[in-house]
Point group: C2
DNA sequence: CCATAAGTTGGCAATATAGCCAAAACCTCT
DNA sequence: AGAGGTTTTGGCTATATTGCCAACTTATGG
């Protein structure tokens, strides 16, 4: 006994898989997209106008989210609509907000 | 009415704050650290041995997690112990696993 | 078929991350 | 103070990410 856990191949592979999902969510525009899609499906043109970046940029963000399994796309006519694939993603942000509050709180304490 | 939501300054700032936290979690080694810390506090040397990277590398990962508000550190003698600051972080991974299962499932469907 | 609109893809330049080594900073013990 | 163990920081290179433009694809409507 006393064998210490290691970041072996299997564990590493699992962490890399998780990291792929987290990376997909680790960008302001993509977080905005997820937040917006939580209210319902949106086409690329709508998201593009809201974000105010080039269409190609938004398209690449969406492709990344799709590849990570966070969103689904569906073409209808000229437009492509995206929607959240996994609703539980939203639970993330509750905790993220808790973290942010902690950070704020400790900054205030540092002053006092 | 009909005013479309925009990624304005305030929203952008909030998304950037969230992205900082997500970025901190968007790396295999850091995810491993969080997973390991969920079992209890660990010193830098323990984590370093488990991960198998240079101590300086692990130390920088920990500094990043700390800056993002995910972990706390405490020096005791020569060693510095780290622990999770916000337990709800762990809820993340349940959902991440759901996403990963979705991705796997759609790959299987693509074959059939 | 041609024009137009919506999205995607390729390519490039700017920026950000990651990881190692070396050096400094901290602690403990003698 | 000096030795040795633990952690952080600085600096550097290699790699990855981002965002724009331009070119291409796909669908609609005349």
């Amino acid at each position: 006994m006393g064998e210490r856990r290691k970041l072996d191949g299997e564990t590493k592979a699992r962490m890399e898989a998780r990291a792929t999902v987290m990376k997909a969510l680790a960008h302001p525009s993509r977080l905005f997209i997820v937040d917006e899609l939580s209210r319902g499906e949106r086409c690329v043109c709508e998201l593009t106008e809201m974000i105010g970046a080039d269409v190609s940029t938004v398209s690449k963000h969406l492709a990344l989210l799709k590849k990570a399994g966070v969103v689904l796309d569906e073409r209808r006519g000229q437009q492509v609509f995206y929607r959240l694939r996994v609703p539980c993603i939203l639970n993330f942000f509750g905790c993220v907000e808790v973290v942010l509050e902690e950070v704020d709180r400790s900054k205030l304490e540092a002053v006092s």
